[in-house]
């Protein structure tokens, strides 16, 4: 009993009773998914997979990781990705592949050669099933990291407070990565909205360490180099004490206790600048 004759036999079996096996496979997978995937979609997915599998066995035997199984693997990648996005568990994804074993089982009993064929098929499908689990996990990872990124984006809104004044209300823990995002978004907002005043409000920030303070200082200096003035507001007594204890120097950077104070300052500055500009352009 060589693997070639095993593969040949499997191929004959798979092509010979194609329609019947496909229908059975789809039915058994459909029961495990309990109607969360439409019949038509399942039909298309598994139908394609079945045909690709038949083709691959004919061309490349039973080496599931070989080059002849390229199409099968790409179909499995697609299937795993779809399932992962729709919230299926890895088991449910893998079972879709394993179910084919049970479908072929009745036809593979009888003579001695059948045992060999069945074992070969089992090995192949186990391999492909594991592949879907791997792919499933990878897709979940991707989803998680993209969500983390979105969360970071969402948590740093830049709002226009007044004509020529933008503000960044920060809520929650500040870390280096987040401060970096704040910096980039704020500077871009200054350019986009043609604003000369920016207010970073840290009322909702419970603690500030040296690294974060350093980042805030950098943001202010960068804004200044672009021709805008940046004020930090909402510095809580606790934070002010910490900053002084840490030896952080804010130098000539304007800081205010409340957002209202900062806004008043910014408006006065904007007003003064407007007046100067108006005089200058006369």
């Amino acid at each position: 009993m060589t693997s070639e004759t095993g593969a040949q036999r499997l191929h004959e079996l798979l092509t010979g009773q194609r329609d019947e096996f496909q229908a059975k496979w789809i039915r058994s997978v459909a029961t495990t998914l309990r109607g969360r995937l439409s019949e038509a979609e399942l039909h298309r997915e598994l139908g394609d997979l079945y045909d690709a599998l038949t083709g691959a066995i004919e061309a490349g035997g039973l080496a599931g990781r070989g080059s002849d199984f390229g199409e099968v693997r790409s179909l499995l990648v697609e299937l795993s990705r779809n399932r992962a996005r729709q919230g299926f568990t890895p088991t449910e994804t893998a079972v879709s592949v394993f179910a084919l074993k049970a479908v072929l089982e009745p036809s593979l009993v009888g003579d001695d050669a059948a045992v060999g064929s069945y074992l070969a098929l089992a090995r192949l499908l186990d391999d492909l099933g594991l592949f879907t689990v791997e792919e499933h996990a990878r897709t979940r990872e991707e989803i998680i990291s993209s969500q983390a990124e979105q969360l970071l984006e969402l948590s740093t809104p830049v709002v226009k407070l007044w004509e020529g004044v933008v503000g960044v209300p920060l809520v929650g823990t500040l870390d280096s990565a987040r401060t970096q995002v704040v910096m980039e978004k704020l500077l871009q907002a200054l350019v986009d909205s043609n604003s000369t005043q920016a207010i970073i409000d840290i009322t909702g920030v419970p603690t500030v360490d040296t690294q974060v303070a350093q980042h805030l200082l950098k943001t202010v200096v960068a804004a200044r180099m672009m021709g805008a003035t940046c004020t930090i507001s909402g510095v809580r007594p606790q934070i002010a004490q910490t900053l002084v204890a840490l030896g952080v120097e804010f130098g000539d950077i304007p800081t205010k206790a409340t957002l209202a104070d900062a806004l008043r300052l910014a408006l006065a500055d904007a007003d003064r600048q407007r007046r100067l500009l108006a005089e200058g352009t006369l």
Partner: protein, 125 residues
């Protein structure tokens, strides 16, 4: 090889619009050209528009400050305008703060700032 940056004259303002990424020699040439033009044209203001510049290294950053100091000595106010966020971040990361250089968001604001900041002794037109 070294392309010279054009220096344009509008009234008593010299406008330098930098269109390419700066090489060291280009900046040195600009420093030389500009100081001569300020004297020759009797310029009161210099505007350096760097909105097309995507990459600035520490040398160029320092040279901008040097150019500003030179023109101040020659009696002209220098305003650097249009710095991109990425460039500003890079300069900050390099530890440069361009102290003593006046900045504006864009050319329009730079011009207005220059007009506004100029002391106008005597009669107003």
């Amino acid at each position: 090889m070294s392309d010279r940056v054009p220096v344009m004259k509008i009234g008593d303002v010299l406008l330098v619009s930098i269109q390419t990424d700066l090489e060291d020699q280009t900046v040195l040439d600009l420093q030389e050209d500009l100081s001569e033009r300020i004297v020759a044209a009797g310029a009161r203001g210099v505007i350096i528009d760097i909105s097309a510049v995507e990459i600035v290294d520490s040398f160029v950053g320092r040279m901008l400050a040097t150019i500003a100091s030179i023109s101040r000595i020659l009696g002209a106010t220098t305003i650097v305008c249009g710095m991109r966020p990425a460039v500003a971040i890079t300069l900050v990361e390099l530890g440069l703060s361009l102290n003593g250089v006046r900045t504006a968001l864009n050319l329009e604001q730079g011009l207005a700032l220059l007009r506004a900041s100029r002391p106008e002794p005597g009669v107003r037109p």
